[in-house]
């Protein structure tokens, strides 16, 4: 019975932890402009993140090594450093967006100016990393993040024309009012939002934090293969809500209140209250993960002791890196940038940085020196190579599309 509960907990946490500010904002923006015609990107992204989260978790469980340690061993110091710098900057950008997202969600709840919430949010993120255990941290934010199910409930409540929605999703086309380049720009952005680069670092480092062995692979597989697709369904639900309420009214998503509007329309104040809990939990959870990931990647590259499983004094440089990352993120936010804009840029740059993370994982999960007999099977490899092509294509297309479309305007 406790095993079943454990499995359920893992899956629920995976669903609730799937969404971050990037997913929430990008799906809402896309839904309000393109309806569900980009839903296929979410499907693609979910398959991709399932594939790579599973590979990186398996690598960590079998070899006991976290991703950036392996990247340095495999690519050498110079190339790995370039990888580190790029990945670190993108993760830092994402961290900034997440902390901004916490502040925006709290503003929605309290009508207090976000810039007053930002230092509070940043401090709270640090405090949780400093004092809370890894598993409780993941479980609480994951379970509370499940409140975002309210989007799916709201969509049903809104009583949309389901056949029209499904048609839109299954036979995608560029809407008349939009330019194809903008369509593909948002495809790349949505892909970057679903396949966040830091997730691979976080997942594999988390596996080492929790001391996974080969016995844990099965549980992790269940969490990922059941949890992530269900989380993907929530992503599509967010786009669906925006498509049903915002698209006909021509409302573009430029703030979190636009994202919340469909939920308010469908379920009133109670639904919005649930939504706020979910928003704070999801962005807070993602802020924790990106802050920790910044520390993980630097510490693993340089060979420092790291991890929440050590007392902070035994992983001093790691914790200092995490603190610096949070402070820098806060500093950027306090200059007054729009956190929604930061989010939009963070997902695009995530798409750019994707190959850096995924190629090493694909290669190492095939290497018998690290994996013994638990190397990738042929199906995983075939899928993995297809996705490598997709990931590289998205990465190469991202910046040109960003410039061409003026970030989607």
């Amino acid at each position: 019975m406790t095993r079943l509960l454990g499995v359920a907990l893992g899956i629920l946490t995976a669903i609730g932890g799937f969404l971050d500010i990037g997913d929430i904002v990008t799906n809402a923006v896309v839904g309000a402009r393109f309806g569900l015609s980009l839903a296929w990107v979410v499907v693609l992204g979910v398959i991709g993140i399932c594939l790579f989260a599973q590979m990186s978790g398996r690598v960590a469980a079998v070899s006991g090594r976290a991703t950036f340690e392996i990247i340095r061993e495999r690519l050498g110091a110079r190339v790995a450093l370039a990888n580190l710098v790029a990945s670190f900057l993108v993760t830092l950008l994402t961290l900034t967006a997440e902390v901004g997202g916490i502040a925006l969600a709290l503003q929605l709840a309290s009508a207090v100016e976000p810039r007053l919430w930002m230092p509070v949010a940043a401090f709270a993120v640090w405090l949780v990393i400093w004092r809370t255990g890894f598993k409780p941290m993941e479980n609480v934010t994951g379970l509370l993040g499940l409140c975002l199910v309210v989007f799916a409930v709201a969509l049903v409540q809104l009583g949309p024309d389901w056949s029209a929605l499904i048609r839109d999703a299954v036979t995608p086309s560029v809407p008349a009012a939009e330019h194809p380049a903008t369509y593909w720009f948002y495809a790349v952005a949505l892909f970057g939002a679903a396949m966040t680069p830091y997730e691979v670092f976080f997942f594999s480092s988390g596996a080492v934090e929790e001391r996974w062995t080969t016995k844990d692979i099965a549980q992790s597989r269940a969490d990922v293969l059941v949890g992530f697709p269900l989380g993907g369904i929530l992503s599509v639900a967010i786009a669906g809500c925006a498509a049903v309420v915002l698209l006909p009214a021509g409302i573009e998503v430029t703030s979190l209140s636009h994202v919340a509007l469909p939920v308010a329309t469908a379920g009133g104040l109670l639904a919005v209250a649930v939504l706020l809990v979910g928003l704070v939990a999801a962005t807070f959870g993602a802020a924790l993960e990106t802050a920790l990931s910044s520390g993980y990647m630097v510490a693993q590259y340089l060979g420092w002791s790291w991890g929440k499983f050590r007392r902070p004094a035994q992983a001093a440089r790691f914790h200092l890196t995490v603190i610096v990352a949070i402070v820098v993120g806060l500093g950027v936010l306090m200059t007054g940038v729009d956190p929604i804009k930061v989010t939009e840029y963070s997902v695009v740059f995530s798409a750019v940085a994707l190959p850096l993370t995924y190629l090493p994982i694909l290669v190492v999960s095939n290497d018998p020196q690290y994996m013994g007999d638990k190397v990738n099977g042929p199906v995983v490899n075939a899928l993995g190579q297809v996705f490598l092509v997709v990931v590289v294509a998205a990465s190469l297309a991202a910046i040109p599309l960003l410039l061409l479309t003026g970030a989607g305007s």
């Binding site: 070899s63 090594r65 340690e69 340095r72 061993e73 050498g76 110091a77 110079r78 790995a80 450093l81 400093w130 004092r131 809370t132 255990g133 890894f134 409780p136 590259y301 340089l302 060979g303 420092w304 002791s305 790291w306 929440k308 499983f309 050590r310 007392r311 902070p312 004094a313 035994q314 001093a316 440089r317 914790h319 200092l320 020196q369 690290y370």
Partner: protein, 137 residues
């Protein structure tokens, strides 16, 4: 195109002449030592191997590995140039117990010079923040 006379290549399986014992395990320095993680005797990470120090053997014998190098030597490796020897962060080769997927030492990380930044930060910063010395919940 000048024809190049290639010396006879020994076949892969011939290995090395059977009457010559290699006298130990063969490893490749760049493939198996460089950029590897170094753990101390308790399994705590110490550093990554940024370089190796080789010293000439006595009387024309082959050079030996004197130490693992780490720290600011990485800058020289990445950017070029030459760093004076006293500034190298050294882990003497005699401290190495085992070379595997990670390099395991026979000494505690605390006792090594290369970890001084960790100790300094512990004493002066991280250890001073409330809760820094507590075991994780």
């Amino acid at each position: 195109m000048t024809a190049r006379r290639r010396p006879r290549r020994q076949p892969a399986d011939a290995g090395y002449p059977p009457d010559e014992s290699v006298g130990g395990r063969l490893v490749d320095a760049r493939a198996h030592l460089l950029d590897r993680q170094v753990h101390d005797v308790d399994g705590v990470p110490v550093t990554a191997v940024d370089d190796l120090e080789l010293v000439e053997g006595r009387a024309g014998a082959a050079p030996t590995v004197a130490a693992l190098l780490s720290g600011s030597i990485l800058n020289t490796r990445l950017l070029g140039g030459h760093q004076p020897e006293p500034r190298w962060g050294r882990i003497p080769w005699s401290s190495v117990a085992k070379v595997g997927v990670v390099i395991e030492l026979s000494v505690r990380g605390e006792d090594l010079d290369v970890t001084w930044t960790e100790r300094w930060l512990r004493e002066h910063l991280i250890g001073r923040i409330p809760g820094g010395q507590h075991d994780p919940e």
